[in-house]
Amino acid sequence: MRRLTAVDGRAAALGLFPGQKATDATALVPELIIAEADPAADAAALTKLVDWCARFSPAVAADPPDGLFLDITGVAHLWGGEAAMIDDLVRRLAAHGLTLRVAIAETPGAAWALAHFAPDRSRCENGQAATALAPLPVAALRLSQADAGQIGRLGLRSIGSVAALPRGELGRRFGSAVLKRLDQALGRAPEALTFRRPPNPWFARLAFAEPVSAPEDLATACNDIAAVLAARLEAEGQGARVFDLAFHRLDGRAERLSIALSLAGRDPAAVARLFQPLLERIDPGFGIEVVTLAARETETIGSRQACFSSSFGGGGPRSGGGAPNASPDRHRPPTSASPVLPPGGGERDDQDLSPFIDRLTNRLGAAVVWRAEAFASHAPERAAARRPPLTRPAETAWDAGRPRPVRLFRRPEPIEVIAPVPDDPPVLFRWRGQARRVRRAEGPERLAQEWWRRPFDDPAAVRDYYQVEDETGARFWLFRAGLYDAENPPRWWLHGLFG
């Protein structure tokens, strides 16, 4: 039997409705134009629409056959509010000839109910879902036909009347599905949406005929899949900075690992080696049937890896700083006359160091492997900024004329001080229970807190730094917080140690 699956506005005005027999419809409206339903094409179009909606939110999920969920948490302000965002969405889709109904609510369930049964473009503030949904019919809860029918037969017409029933009885009478949908709509139960991710073209997959679980098998699989993906990357001249490896277990869980490279690369042996120490974290369970490897943050790296060799300390003249284009010099084999280490050269080839940096960052984390760079700030604790180790040093440098300690304390330590007023360096100070007599001193160097970070009239915003040396020759970096004040003597702090 042929039935209508969808009707347009004019057909609906003539009294046709989805689910109606096609023969009945043609009998009512003889000039009706019927097109064959094509669910696959509908689904493909919906997927396209989901991808298009990525302009509104990074998290968009399809709700087949004809709905979309957009997670707009934290993005509505980019349009100047939710109402403006809805207007923009509707205007753009209307320009494509689509008709739609939009609603915004705190849960997917509530938004679905409002979009389908409330006036178009209704918005419900957080915490108002129960009141907003109360007058809507029970079908707005996304129930199965049978459940909705049964609730309707008992005379419960609105969500409000269902929600008012005691929970226990509701569950006993209609089953847990109704309770779950009600809770999801009102935000009392979580609901997982399957957001569509942009497809990653750099993806490799290995499936096994028999599930594997032995550690050496995992290591082999890791090597193999790295080689598969590397071959594809190499063919396209691409390298990646991040590799995600996933072991899909028989029970459906996926064990995931990822590594990051400091320079984009694709050497399968290097990638596999970085994964090796992580493999022991993998719990194979009943076995692993599929391994996938995805490469992210890809970039063109040319033939840089072709002449990469870690076995030579300094093979031939270097073309400096990891330039992607390999100069002809670099293909020259190392001669015995070339020194093991390039002498006196400021230029280093970072290529040699990148495997080492990668091992460190994957083991310890990228935050604790760094290179200090001069940052234009008077605050001593901000003068050295952390940069990734293999970035090119900036032209800026620290002012050599200003004495700075070798060890800088994260928090200055309080000290007791005997100092002549108002502006002299201390003659004696006590730090960690030990009194030290100052033999020589230099200073003060007045450093003010940056006014855009702290109000300028804050007395502690000015620090007078002194470099003092005690009788043993140990050097300290002290400062007085604030200006001299007879009533409130300023406090003294120790901020660092010179060598």
């Binding site: 076995s311 006196g344 940096i357 310890l364 440098a397 030990q434 020589r440």
Partner: protein
Amino acid sequence: MSRAAQLMAVRGKLAALENRKGDVLPFGDRRIDACLPGGGLPLGCWHEAIGEGLESETAAATGAFIAALAAPLASRGAVVWVMRRQDLHAPGLASLGFPAERLIQVGAPSQTEALIALEDALRTPGIAAAIGEVERLDLIAGRRLQLACERHGAAGFVIRRRLYGRRRSDGLAAAATTRWRIASAPSEPEPGEPGLGPPRWRVELERCRGGRPGAWIMEKADGPLCLRVVAELGDRGLDTPSPIRLAG
């Protein structure tokens, strides 16, 4: 291949090996270079630096001295500094003449990780020196460091530093090629100059394989070598009469 040619090849290989082994970093002063085998700080092995008292916690003078010592190596390759407590201040290193903006700094969460990172750095070609702040290390760890250093002729420096609030741990590793005891020394500015002179250190070479111990006052200097010897210190053991002093 003739016998003579084979012999030549073997001699050439041996010379290359010995050359690498014998690579040294001279201090540029006979008073200290004479104590060291090969006339300078040997490279391709690791050195230990110890501070006394509070210095064993803060490692300020030790760190500054090692930075000044390792500064000439920075022109030969990368330098890595592995630390537990991340309080190294790069502008301070820069004022000692060390190219701090190229120093690779590593913060290790534990002693074991610090040693692993240090060893890994020393094994990596292109790294001229690696400095590690380590609380204690046993003979096996010392031996591993030595093997890593020999791989590419990198110089290793281990600064013995305990964490704040930790009890002092003794038991010195005997595997280091040299052991230095570093303390700060009062500076002497030029007569008539106010303020502080260049930083000075009291440097004691306690142990040196193939050399002999000694003690010096050293000062930060401008120029390619960041250190110069101010004075050689004599044997101060007046209260313990020891007529014969054994080297080694």
